[in-house]
């Protein structure tokens, strides 16, 4: 858009005045009248310039405020997305940990317990007296409880480890996506 179009009237007035100045036949009175008209137009143009500058600055403020509000909303949105991602990953980590707990429990019941049983039986040897059997049962009970307790204690750190691993992967994926978006924006 050219300024010539926007200020067409004003440019017309200026051209008219220039023509009048170079006109050798124009009377002093007519020239004075032309000059008065030019002054009126100049005053009007000055008023317009003042208004447009003022209004433009005010609307720029409005635009800045809108941009600021938008930036704040973006930060809020990013925080919400981060929290949602964290919650989703936390849930995933809990599910994986639960699955691992079930597998470990089955390993404990099917593999570990018979192994402990065999070891305790070997240690006690042929002591099949009532005291010996009681001792055997007691050791077996405490050994399996201890084994399961160790597993239970390890579950929480395991969940945290899985969660941090999944979070790291999610951040890497987000960074990768951001980079590819930036590259495609720069290319276009």
């Amino acid at each position: 858009m050219s300024k010539k179009q926007l200020y067409e009237n004003e440019i017309g007035v200026l051209s008219q005045m220039r023509k009048s100045i170079t006109d050798e036949n124009i009377s002093k009175e007519d020239l004075a009248n032309e000059f008065n008209t030019l002054c009126d137009h100049y005053e009007e143009l000055l008023d317009q310039s003042k208004l447009i500058t003022k209004v433009s600055d005010k609307l720029q403020n409005k635009l800045n405020s809108a941009n600021e509000a938008l930036a704040n909303k973006n930060i809020e949105l990013q925080d919400t997305i981060d929290e949602l991602t964290k919650a989703r990953i936390g849930k995933k980590a809990a599910t994986i940990t639960f699955g691992l707990a079930v597998v470990l429990f089955m390993i404990s019941e099917g593999v570990l317990d018979p192994v402990i049983e065999a070891i305790v039986a070997k240690v006690l040897g042929d002591n099949h007296t009532q005291t010996g059997i009681f001792k055997f049962a007691n050791i077996l009970l405490w050994a399996t409880i201890f084994g399961k307790l160790i597993m239970a204690i390890l579950l929480k750190p395991l969940e945290s480890f899985i969660e941090s691993y999944l979070l790291k992967r999610a951040h890497q994926a987000a960074k990768k996506l951001e980079l590819s978006t930036e590259t495609s924006t720069n290319q276009s």
Partner: protein, 126 residues
């Protein structure tokens, strides 16, 4: 005289100039790529209208935002409407702004100072 109606778009305002009622509405956002081209038919319509205006002309203006070149075009349109008042007929501008929109309120007051016709700045409650 036919009513001038232009639907609002992303960067142009809604225009409804009704010669039979004398109610003129300019509403929305004005950031056209070429303001002069956009406002040319509007200005031409106003130039025709002021030849034989309605008994009462009310120009209702409600902008959310307008760019610098639009501000000059809006001023030109309002100045042409002011000719009606100058000719001794009833004409006034109602400049509406949303509550808390101080910038648009002040813009209206600035226009009111320069346009030589009754000019009212009205707040729209939320």
């Amino acid at each position: 005289m036919e009513t001038l109606e232009l639907q609002a778009k992303n960067n142009t305002p809604y225009i409804n100039f009704d010669a039979s009622t004398g109610i003129m509405v300019m509403k929305g956002r004005s950031t056209p790529e070429n303001s002069v081209e956009y406002y040319e038919p509007i200005t031409n319509w106003v130039l025709n209208y002021i030849q034989s205006p309605a008994e009462n002309t009310i120009i209702k203006v409600q902008f959310e935002y307008f760019n610098t070149s639009s501000s000059k075009c809006i001023l030109d349109v309002l100045k042409k409407f002011a000719e009606i008042h100058k000719a001794g007929k009833s004409a006034k501008v109602e400049w509406y702004f949303e509550e808390d929109d101080e910038d648009m309120k002040e813009a209206g007051e600035d226009y009111g100072d320069i346009v030589k016709m009754p000019f009212e700045v009205i707040e729209i409650p939320e």
